[in-house]
């Protein structure tokens, strides 16, 4: 078996908001292996984003242990997490989160400026099929295009993992397909381990492995014997 990039054991997360506490994760064991394409499936509120944020170093668990290779993320401080995100992780968010005052190229350059040996921003945009939209501002791009810029921005640093939180959540089917294509291509061509969150079970078919979350727990893990391509997905 391929070596694991992430190893999470017994991860819990409790949000306290005044008197109410929300248990978002209730003891999750989770692995992500090198080069793997993984889909995290589950109903809204099941804890998918929470888990992904913890893996990506945006948040810390209440208890449990998360290893990135041999680094223990649970013991890292804020500065260490920042460095970790900068050097190893690529993020894609549901709402793209592009900087509106920067062009597509500049949004990508925002990342390539601060990491070592990045791709050229143009090459990254070419890879997601936006080589012709370099100097457009986010407001001049469609939702799908914006999301592909976000993917280019995430992969331009040549990250070891690509974490995508409902990348197609705000998109229609055709546009969503283009975005998923781009993600799949990165996974295939660059070998970047990829975890994609969705609540759309149809997307699960394109994964190597599917992890189902329900109510803050892992409800099942399923390995696809055969991956299907984006164009064959039944939406």
């Amino acid at each position: 078996m391929r070596p694991a990039i992430f190893t999470a054991r017994g991860v819990t997360k409790i949000y306290e908001m005044g008197e109410v506490t929300v248990q978002a994760l209730r003891g999750v064991d989770f692995d992500l292996f090198e080069g793997e394409f993984l889909v995290l499936l589950g109903p809204s509120g099941s804890g998918k984003s929470t888990l992904l944020n913890i893996l990506g170093g945006l948040d810390v668990p209440t208890s449990g242990e998360v290893l990135y290779r041999d680094h223990n993320l649970t013991q890292a401080d804020d500065a260490a997490l920042t460095l970790y995100r900068r050097d190893h992780v690529g993020f894609v968010f549901q709402f793209y989160n592009l900087i509106p005052s920067l062009t597509a190229r500049e949004n990508v350059a925002l990342v390539t400026e601060i990491v070592e040996a990045p791709m050229q921003p143009e090459a990254a945009l070419e890879l997601v099929g936006l080589g012709h939209r370099l100097d457009h501002f986010p407001a001049q791009l469609s939702g799908g295009e914006q999301q592909r810029v976000a993917i280019a921005r995430a992969i331009a640093k040549r990250p070891e993992v690509l974490l995508c939180d409902e990348p197609t959540g705000a998109l229609d089917i055709t546009t969503g397909s283009l975005v998923l294509e781009a993600i799949a291509r990165v996974n295939r061509d660059l070998g970047t381990a990829t975890a994609v969150i969705t609540h759309n079970a149809a997307i699960a078919g394109m994964a190597d492995r599917v992890v189902r979350l329900a109510d803050g727990r892992v409800a099942g893990v399923h390995t696809n014997s055969q991956k299907i391509s984006v164009s064959e997905l039944q939406w």
Binding site: S49, D59, N97, I99, S101, L102, E106, L110
Partner: protein, 792 residues
């Protein structure tokens, strides 16, 4: 393209600033206003201080001054031997009544001796025009520049002095300046009267023979070695002069011109520091508001950048740079404008401070300090906002902000039944939803009112000062001063002058007050126990009746000497038999001008161990007889000078008009600029926050007028709430400034009239209306699609 070469974050900075350029400009203007004032005032202060230092040095301005009745010249060598003394100059100085052509009221001339050969050893006389006097011609004089300008006198002209009862023609051959009369104030007056006080330098022999001073002198100046103790020199000088009627030596710092100049300078410094500081504080506050709001809109961007691996430090610096760029732009403009205004202002000081040359100089230090100060203030204003925004955990910031919890507003709940229009309901709910935010906006706009009040109230403050001094306190029309103290019969002589209605005797006596190691030399004023003309007034308690057996001191003098009611002072009289006696401080009064010490007139004469004597008579005049009074009093022997309330008031007004009015105008203009900046900023902030919501409403079919009403209604409510708050803040700031402003010369009361408040409100309402208009134009151009398409 320049932008290309910038780092990505800096490109973002430039574009973000450009997107909020109106707001950025408004803030930059506010910062610029503060910096302009800093530069204007402090560069003037700096220029005056340098000029003063250079002049005192160049003109050999003495370190110690003393006047006496008469001492023989043989005393001079002993003076030279005093500790620390490097130079001694003795002179003959006499005040005379002048008869100036085309002026009915009498003027005072001070005659100062010039050595027969060469220049004075100390207190050099600078010849502006004409020539030096010819020792062979006893009637030739040099005349002070201000007096000549005032009367259009030039070398070759002459005027008449009444010397020892005899009229004598003096011919002006030169126009001159002296470091002793940079600020020419007549003894016993509170403001300079350039029309009625002239300084004349004449040959020593001529002057000495007119005043029986041959082989003697009545004025001493000493120069001390650097580092020598002034106190020791005075302590050694006084006993030497005492047998000759020495009236107590004073250090340079207490010499009238030097003291006044110093007070003016320190006032310029506080004024030039505190007021701009307040303005900059306001700039920092609105920068804080603007940035807090702008950063709230960038929440998701900040989170994304953190997710991409940008550190808190990098992001914080990025946003602090926003503030710094804005402040730097404002500061640069402020330095340029301040240098220009400063150069204008210096001409004004030239009007009543006379230096051989007063040149304006903006030192690099002042410019750099102003810029650095504004950057620091901007960074301080920004840092709290930035820190809060950047600290937010990225996972949290990524989540869309929960929809605000709305409720029916209390006004709606109270007024059930009455259906408020939708726009009004939305305005109220919005304000209620974020009371903290509304409060900050209110405080921001209130600052606009406050700076205007601070700027404008000084007109009222000065009026109150004049009213206090010239209506409540000085009720006499004129004061006739005698050369020597005279018996009480002199009061009757004055009463018989034409037009004199009411008289009141005064007995002033030069004395040194000593409390421990602290001393002050001044004139104690003896007055009737309940004076009607020369009233003694406490700013709180009103007219004061002088108590028996005790001194009444200005509170400021009490502070200088560190004494309070019940404490004892040593009073060393500096004339006549020179008694020394311990006296009790009966009362401190909170008065307005100068440092004063009062006693009952009978207590003064008892202290002096003499019969009833007077040194001056205050009187009221029948206006119809004024001319005849002037004529006769000019000819009256033994009269040293006549001071006129009208003239004093006029001089005071002129001085204020020249000095304060320009400063006040500058303050008011910049306060107005700031008010506009603040209000415009408040309007723009709420526009950018609400544009999404308003665009959604437009999409739903609301008209432009309807959504404008919602936004502008909110602005109107905030402005209305800010007006009274601003008056309160303005009052507090005014008090604060006066704490720094009050000195030995003036004590001001911070007051403002309802009319002033009305003006400030009007200006702010106008600013709000114009800002509203600008915002309204933006609302009309709101790009619905663009606003809704991009997730912030």
């Amino acid at each position: 393209m320049l932008l290309r070469r910038l780092r990505i974050l800096d490109r973002k900075l430039v574009r973000d600033l450009w997107a909020m350029r109106g707001q950025a400009l408004a803030i930059a203007v506010v910062v610029g206003a503060g910096v302009t004032m800093f530069v204007t005032y402090l560069s003037n202060f700096d220029s005056l201080q340098r000029t003063r230092a250079a002049y005192y040095e160049e003109a050999r301005f003495a370190d110690v001054f003393a006047s006496l009745t008469r001492a023989p010249l043989s005393l001079e060598p002993r003076l030279r031997e005093l500790p620390g003394v490097t130079a001694v100059d003795t002179r003959v100085v006499a005040d005379v009544t002048l008869d100036v052509p085309a002026m009915t009221e009498p003027a005072v001339g001070r005659l100062i001796s010039l050595p027969d050969a060469g220049e004075p050893r100390l207190n050099g006389v600078y010849l502006r025009s004409g020539r030096w006097i010819d020792p062979a011609r006893p009637d030739e004089v040099l005349a002070s520049e201000l007096f000549c300008e005032e009367h259009g006198l030039a070398p070759g002209d002459s005027l008449t002095a009444i010397i020892n009862g005899r009229r004598r023609r003096l011919t002006i051959v030169g126009v001159a300046l002296s470091p002793e009369y940079v600020y020419a104030i007549r003894p016993g007056e509170i403001v300079p009267d350039t029309r009625r006080f002239g300084i004349f330098w004449m040959n020593r022999r001529a002057l000495a023979s007119a005043f029986n001073m041959e082989g003697g002198f009545n004025d001493v100046s000493l120069a001390l070695a650097p580092g020598a103790s002034v106190g020791e020199a005075i302590a050694a000088l006084d006993p030497l002069l005492e047998p000759y009627g020495g009236r107590g030596a004073i250090p340079q710092g207490l010499q009238v011109s030097a003291w006044t100049l110093e007070n003016e300078l320190s006032q310029l410094q506080t004024f030039g520091f505190l007021v701009p500081l307040i303005f900059l504080g306001v700039a920092a506050f609105i920068l804080h508001i603007a940035l807090t709001r702008a950063l709230a809109l960038q929440r998701a961007q900040i989170a994304a950048m953190k997710a991409l691996g940008y550190s808190n430090g990098t992001l914080a610096w990025h946003y602090i740079k926003w503030a710094l760029v804005i402040a730097a732009a404002g500061a640069a403009g402020g330095v340029v404008l301040g240098a220009w205004l400063g150069a204008q202002l210096i001409d004004l000081y030239n009007e009543f401070f006379r230096f051989p040359r007063l040149s304006y100089r903006l030192s690099a230090g002042v410019a750099a300090a102003s810029v650095a100060g504004s950057l620091v203030v901007a960074a301080l204003g920004a840092q709290a906002a930035v820190r809060r925004a950047v600290r937010l955990p990225p996972a949290e910031a990524m989540r869309p902000e929960a929809p605000a919890r709305h409720r029916r507003s209390p006004i709606e709940r109270v007024s059930t039944g009455v259906a408020l229009p939708l726009a009004a309901r939305m305005v109220l709910r919005n304000l209620e939803r974020q009371p903290g935010r509304a409060l900050i906006s209110v405080v921001g706009i209130a600052f606009a009112v406050a700076v205007l009040i601070v700027g404008m109230a000084f007109i009222d403050v000065m009026d109150a000062l004049m009213n206090e001094q010239f209506t409540r306190l000085m009720r006499q029309d004129a004061t006739v001063g005698f050369v020597e103290p005279r018996s009480a019969r002199a009061v009757y002589d004055v009463r018989h002058l034409p037009g004199v209605m009411e008289t009141e005797p005064m007995r002033t006596v030069p004395a040194r007050l000593r409390a421990g190691s602290r001393t002050r030399t001044l004139a104690i004023t003896g007055l009737p126990d309940a004076p009607r003309l020369n009233r003694v007034i406490d700013r709180e308690r009103g007219p004061v009746t002088l108590p028996r057996d005790g001194l009444v001191l200005s509170r400021m003098l009490g502070e200088v000497l560190a004494v309070g009611p019940g404490d004892e002072l040593q009073v060393e009289v500096l004339e006549g038999r020179r008694p020394v006696q311990r006296m009790r401080v009966a009362m401190l009064i909170d008065d307005t001008l100068g440092l004063n010490a009062y006693m009952r007139i009978e207590d003064v004469t008892r202290l002096l161990r003499e019969g009833d004597t007077v040194s001056a008579v205050a009187l009221t005049l029948d206006p119809a007889e004024q001319e005849r009074f002037y004529d006769q009093v000019k000819a009256m022997p033994a009269v040293g000078g006549v001071s006129l309330r009208e003239a004093t008031l006029r001089n005071f007004r002129e001085m204020m008009a020249e000095n304060m009015n320009l400063q006040i105008s500058i303050n008011v203009i910049f306060a107005a600029v700031i008010a506009f900046g603040v209000v415009y900023n408040a309007a723009r902030v709420s526009l950018s926050e609400r544009s999404r919501e308003l665009a959604s409403l437009r999409v739903m079919g609301f008209t432009r007028a309807e959504i404008s009403l919602m936004l502008l209604g909110e602005l109107a409510v905030l402005t209305a709430a800010a007006l009274p708050v601003g008056a309160l803040i303005g009052y507090l700031l005014g008090q604060l400034i006066l704490l720094g402003f009050n000195n030995e010369m003036y004590r001001l009361t911070f007051v403002f009239l309802p009319g002033t408040v009305a003006w400030t409100w009007l200006i702010v309402i106008l600013a709000a209306a114009l800002s509203g208009l600008a915002v309204r134009r933006r609302l009309d151009r709101l790009d619905l699609v663009a606003v809704l398409k991009t997730q912030e």
